[in-house]
């Protein structure tokens, strides 16, 4: 795919956020993923040109960070937390069953291109363990069954909404645009907090 004039002007606005242009590498890489679904060579070249860097310098940054994908992921990229706490509470079982259910391994995509799978590290939602992320949206308190139902809904083209997130699950490309700092207008959707987040406050109001 080629980057349109409009894409290039968006990239220019991203660069203008920073006092020094090189700081824009990371949002620009997220932006490339929002267009291509992964970090393409063409995307690397465009970023290098815009920032007056060598392509190798941009590649060096891109390959350091696990969220920048060298190959296409699914329309819905599913991450199962298998760091210690989630793993022990069920994350390992969920990850194993999803691999089996989808017939793919870690960092692989289903043949229909709908779902990719990755085991992820702690995603800062331990009070909602076991946690599954999809396009980096929260799916809290998962079980083997609920996780299977989630990926089935994705493959059927009607993904279940996140537990703490917008009313619908956006695609990987759409989520990448948000990570590039673009506003998709969905910030007001979804809960302000889940029950565990509010537990201490609730007990305090009961005089605890």
């Amino acid at each position: 795919m080629a980057f349109s004039t409009e894409d290039l002007s968006t990239m220019d606005l991203i660069i203008k956020r920073y006092p020094r242009s090189r700081s824009a590498i990371m949002p620009l890489l997220h932006y490339v993923q929002s267009k291509a679904g992964y970090v393409t060579n063409e995307g690397i070249e465009v970023i290098a040109k815009l920032l007056q860097l060598e392509a190798a310098e941009v590649t060096a940054v891109s390959t350091f960070y696990t969220q920048y994908k060298p190959t296409p992921v699914g329309e819905y990229h599913v991450g199962v937390c298998t760091n210690t706490l989630c793993a022990i509470m069920g994350g390992d079982a969920i990850f194993a069953s999803l691999k089996d259910h989808l017939g793919i391994g870690n960092d692989e995509v289903t043949a229909d291109g709908k779902v990719s799978l990755e085991h992820i590290e702690c995603n800062a939602a331990c009070d909602y363990a076991p946690v599954v992320m999809a396009n980096w949206e929260f799916y809290d308190n998962q079980t083997v069954e609920s996780a299977k139902e989630l990926v089935d809904s994705m493959r059927a083209g009607n993904p279940k909404p996140p537990t703490r997130g917008p009313n619908r699950l956006v695609t990987y490309k759409e989520a990448s645009a948000v990570l590039a700092g673009l506003n998709d207008g969905l910030a007001h959707e979804g809960v302000q907090a889940g029950e565990p987040t509010l537990l201490g406050l609730k007990l305090s109001k009961e005089g605890k």
Partner: protein, 426 residues
């Protein structure tokens, strides 16, 4: 019995707590208004007097950090907020930003005024799409309302999945557009931080605590907490408990008190081990239920308060499996810059895998401790140090369990028993 004291979390139960309107309903942005009429040095003094200490793990006094910024140097100064919350077990800044991003923006305005900065950056981890939306929208709304853009600019910078970027100098390299690898110190960020300019790097919770201090005064903040650990803070309880969640309490509360509020360890089970402040802080056991969870109390008991991430594991959990998984995490997240950490964490994983599989020997325990000794304190940043914490502390408290793996020839635990859905047909 310590009473909970919601300050940061006081209005999280209102549906629109994350909006400008919701924030203003409870006096939002009045602290910034007040601060802007104050002398910057007076704000630094106020924060020093409050006793506020860094909530990101190290516990460095916030006001003192601000005071290190050279004044009258005719250089740009920067405030960088560390929202890269990734320490295993840590889950406080993420819900805070989802429920109330404006309190962070208000804190940024006050901190920028104090350190004479015009520019603040919020470095948030990339794996939290909806939180990014909320913070970005809050910034846009603050600009539209004229709250930002009149002397202070705030830029949200989204990371891309690297635990090391929670380390402040790696974060700065990442923000400058490089691979996130820690820098040698000195110079410290206060002298040469972002773009080699004087920079304050603070955790989300630290900066978010500032507006309430400005509104209510240092004495009010001092009235909560213990002698050297002042104020309230978010304790994040997770794991094998009846009701996990966030508990905002004065510093010095104990795990026993928080567990009581949470309904205790799950029925029919007992506490085996826990982390007081994330996986990089040495493990505690049921002998530490009454340790005051403040900076001094936890340190005196041989661990660190860290991020106050209380991860609870009951007796169904294999400590070797838990430690192996954390060690795999550190190996994966080591940035590769310093040899002791890069090579050391790799070897730790090899040895621990054998031990968990019952294939090691008792000499491997000595080897693990020897490796830890050679990693500890020998790298630019604390990632390697953190990697040794679960290993040395688990061998200290659970040596017999390591040995049981060897005599048994395999892990003696059933992993299904530790899951939440045991018995649920999973």
């Amino acid at each position: 019995m310590t009473k909970l004291a919601p300050v940061l979390s006081a209005h999280w139960d209102e549906k629109d707590s994350f909006t400008l309107e919701g924030y203003k309903r409870h006096g939002g942005y009045k602290a910034a208004q007040k601060a802007l009429t104050m002398d910057p040095d007076a704000i630094i003094q106020l924060v020093k007097d409050s006793g506020l200490r860094g909530r990101g793990g190290a516990g460095f006094p916030t006001g003192m950090k601000w005071g290190f910024i050279p004044q009258g140097d005719n250089k740009d100064h920067y405030l960088v907020v560390n929202a890269d919350e990734s320490e295993p077990g840590t889950c406080k800044d993420t819900p805070l930003l989802m429920a109330n991003p404006h309190v962070l923006i208000e804190g940024c305005i006050i901190a920028c005024h104090a350190i004479r900065a015009k520019h603040a950056f919020i470095y948030i981890r990339g794996e939290v799409t909806h939180v990014v939306r909320r913070v970005n929208q809050a910034i846009a709304d603050a600009y539209a309302a004229g709250i930002l853009g009149n002397g202070v600019d705030v830029v949200l910078h989204v990371g891309a999945g690297a635990y090391i970027c929670g380390e402040e100098t790696a974060l700065l390299d990442s923000l400058e557009g490089f691979r996130g690898q820690p820098r040698l110190r000195p110079p410290f960020p206060a002298i040469a931080g972002l773009y080699a300019r004087p920079t304050v790097v603070n955790n989300v919770e630290s900066i978010a605590s500032v507006p309430a201090i400005v509104m209510n005064g240092a004495e009010w903040y001092q009235s909560m907490g213990t002698e050297k650990s002042k104020g309230t803070t978010l304790y994040s309880l997770s794991g094998h408990v009846v009701n996990p969640g966030q508990f905002e309490a004065p510093l010095g509360v104990t795990l026993r008190e928080i567990l009581d509020l949470a309904g205790g360890v799950r029925p029919g089970h007992r506490l085996k081990f826990w982390t007081p402040g994330g996986s990089s802080t040495p493990l505690f056991t049921d002998a530490h239920l009454d340790v005051p969870l403040d900076y001094e109390g936890v340190a005196a008991a041989g661990s660190m308060l860290g991020t106050k991430a209380l991860q609870i594991f009951d007796e169904t959990t294999c400590v070797v499996r838990a430690v192996l998984r954390w060690t795999e995490f550190y190996k994966h997240e080591s940035c590769g810059k310093c040899t002791p950490c890069r090579e050391g964490t790799w070897w730790l994983v090899q040895i621990l895998r054998d031990l968990e599989d019952g294939k090691g020997t008792e000499a491997d325990l000595a080897k693990l401790l020897d490796l830890c000794d050679n990693i500890m304190g020998r790298s630019f940043c604390a990632l390697g140090d953190g990697a040794t914490s679960p290993i040395t502390s688990s061998i200290k408290y659970f040596r017999d369990e390591y040995i049981a793996h060897l005599t048994n020839g395999a892990c003696p635990f059933d992993p299904v028993a530790s899951t939440l859905f045991v018995g649920a047909g999973a």
